[in-house]
Amino acid sequence: MKLIHYFFIVFYLFVVGCAPRFIPSKHTETVLVIKSSETDTISSIDKYLKPFRDSINGIMNIPIGEAQADLRKERPSGSLGNMVADALLKRAQSQYPSTVGAICNYGGIRINQIPKGKISKGKIFELLPFENELIILEVKGNILNEWMQHIAKDGGWPIAFSSKVVIESSKNQSGLLDSVNEEDGGSSIKTRIESKQYFNEQDTYYIATNDYVANGGDNCNFLKPCKQIKTGLIIRDVVLGYIQTKKIITPDNTIRLAIIH
């Protein structure tokens, strides 16, 4: 064995020269497989967790609806985010009919997919674990444009509007939206719905979102001055109610957001 070591040493000595401190290892990955049948008995940790787990599972394993196909979290838009935004918009409109759209932060969607099949209550707790309130935000067009630029810069957030939202920017060398902003003071970026109707800088729009974003979260400081219409509803409950009412969720894979440079 040692002879083999020295053979390799001599071989490497010919190939290499300098001397850093680390010898990085070959990547190794170990998969530890635990049979679920043994997990109940093996440890004191499991004994400690069992009453918590049983209590949670009793509530969380209840099916509330069914996904006809996988719902996925994607950018610029995806079926999972689309469903959440639809649920927020529908509920907001039922309370405040002037609501024209819903915007949810991408980071607020906490799982990558809801797989085809039964949707449990627990799955929606994983999807939306935060105790965030549904807020209807009174947003001036210029602020909404700024919001859209922020969303474009971030790669896209879940949205629901009457149709596709297009965030336009003029051509620029770097291809980066924010660099255009700095040069042109943001004037070269416009946001429109469909092909014609731009968000008018002076008009007021009512947008459903969560209180985290409305209070400036996810770097949305510019939303802080906007008037908030509080609903007292937790967005998770809104989505739970949406699925319970619809029973069958058909994924909407429509690309709802386009970012044009």
């Binding site: 000595l13 010898i23 530890l32 627990g122 209070n215």
Partner: protein, 310 residues
Amino acid sequence: MNRRKFIQQTSIATSLLLASQFPYEALAKDDAQHKLTILHTNDVHSRLDPFPMDGSKYQGMGGVVGREKIISKIRQEEEQVLLLDAGDIFQGTPYFNFYKGEPEMKVMSMLAYDAATIGNHDFDNGVEALANQLQHANFPIVNCNYDFTNTALENKIEPYHIIRKGKLKIGIIGIGIELKGLVPDKLFGNILYHDPIQSANDTAYYLKKNKRCDYIICLSHLGFEYKDAKVSDKILAAETEYIDLIIGGHTHTFLDHPWITKNKKNKEIMVNQVGWAGINVGRINIYFYNKKQYDYVSNFTVIKVKETSA
């Protein structure tokens, strides 16, 4: 000829070594004076049980039962083991919605974590709630760039923690992400954020020069990297002087092996992060030839629960 010298001379070709079957670990083992095994997790997000078996990407993966199994196995095999976490312990499963963090803290205590830092989501129920949950933690929580003066966390979170492992003195510091814009103002209250690079360097300098630590680990919740200039573990690593290893979190980055760069003193420093949710447990074995020179070997364990029909 000195075998150690050979190892140094041969170690340029990371890719060569990565691609080869060279028995570097066996060689390292022979000469090492001390060995330290660092196990680490990050962004576990209340994932105490494995992901449910519902056809999703990570179904059956993770869970503290599996984590305990791998950790206790390694503790039996190795003499000097550190178990660390880089924050975002809370939020993500109904355990947190219903029990507010107590099971997470108690389970980490039962797993005998040596230290952890806090992430932005650990503030999700506010500063007081986090301070209240710390009564269930029997391990130190470290952070050196948040000022907790006049908050419920004052004196409950330490800037650093020193652990002796055999003859080695290990300094552990913690670094947190800027909370403004990320965590609602009312949840983090009066906590002041200080420059992470300056704070990390000042604390590491103190641990190296005044406390004579042999090895310094930074538990960071800054995130591995960003498209823009936002401070990240990659940026921090290049700006450090006395930190040997950064265990990162926040960006949920699955690294196959530690990322390595040169620090301000032109010495190598490594950054590691193992995704999120306790799917993987990271492991870095450090072989010390003396208190200044060392090699490392890394791997990780993927925890999987297999459903049995019986």
